[in-house]
Symmetry: C2
Subunit: 165 residues, 2 copies
């Protein structure tokens, strides 16, 4: 790396690699929140008419991999939350881990220079590459926070929010 490139990098707020690592850290924590749920409560427990944490997890899976693949390839993906899970956490955890690899793969194909390009996520949500990615991450934090309340209401201690290896 020459001096100019190095200076550019350290002057940036955050690099693409750091943002991926940040998200994968959050995804690791969300995975542990899924693991912390008793299996029946994961698929059945609700508060105030909200979705189960399984349903929220299906949304997160529908967004992350397909959303980043779409940004990388420029080919629209459908928004589909219909994984056949048979009320098994293990099935969704396997999808979770596969998504981890999908993100790593396609993220590498999205250069920082594309961050401000306008896109329509899933063919309908207007924004830029970076606004869409931040939406994906923020939406996961938002729903996982709800999962924490579900766990506490079940008497289960959630993993620590700050612990994201």
């Amino acid at each position: 790396m020459n001096d100019t490139a190095q200076k550019t990098q350290v002057n940036e707020v955050i690099t693409t690699e750091e943002l991926l690592q940040h998200w994968q850290g959050h995804r690791n924590l969300t995975r542990r929140v899924i693991e912390a749920f008793p299996e029946d409560a994961f698929f059945n427990h609700r508060i105030g008419g909200m979705r189960t944490f399984a349903e929220m997890t299906l949304e997160l899976l529908a967004i992350a991999g397909p959303g980043i693949q779409e940004i990388a390839t420029g080919q629209n993906n459908e928004f589909k939350e219909d994984i056949e899970h048979g009320n098994s956490k293990a099935v969704l955890l396997q999808h979770w881990d596969e998504t981890t690899e999908v993100l790593n793969k396609y993220w590498a194909e999205i250069p920082a220079s594309r961050s401000h390009d306008p896109i329509k996520a899933f063919g309908q949500y207007e924004g830029t590459v970076i606004s869409s990615i931040l939406y994906f991450i923020d939406n996961e934090i938002h729903h996982r926070g709800q999962g924490y309340v579900y766990l506490r209401s079940l008497g289960v201690e959630p993993p620590a929010f700050w612990d994201r290896p």
Copy 2:
């Protein structure tokens, strides 16, 4: 702005100004979540032994302004959640709005080139400027998501997550 500076800017994942706008958009939404609570429930309602949303709001106020001021000035602030509010949402909303101005003021004094500097937030939490700022934002999203469950459990419709003017 000369050509080189402009190129650097569009090649960045996100600029400092955009990250501030992103956070202030989230803070605007959190403000509307506070407003959506019935006053007594804001200070009394709990699920699963968790804190009230008022107590979570005190944490967010203790972090945002003092945390960013500390990063800007390099002088450690104490972590203090002890605002005298007399069980009045209006008092905390006023602090919320004052914090909006504090963030705008001190944010302008933190150049992107400092993002990767190591710091100890509140004299104890080790990280970098950017990791600390992301923690502040993520922590707000996390607790606000919990506030959504509180509102739903009270039969109150929360503001839309995606609506952050």
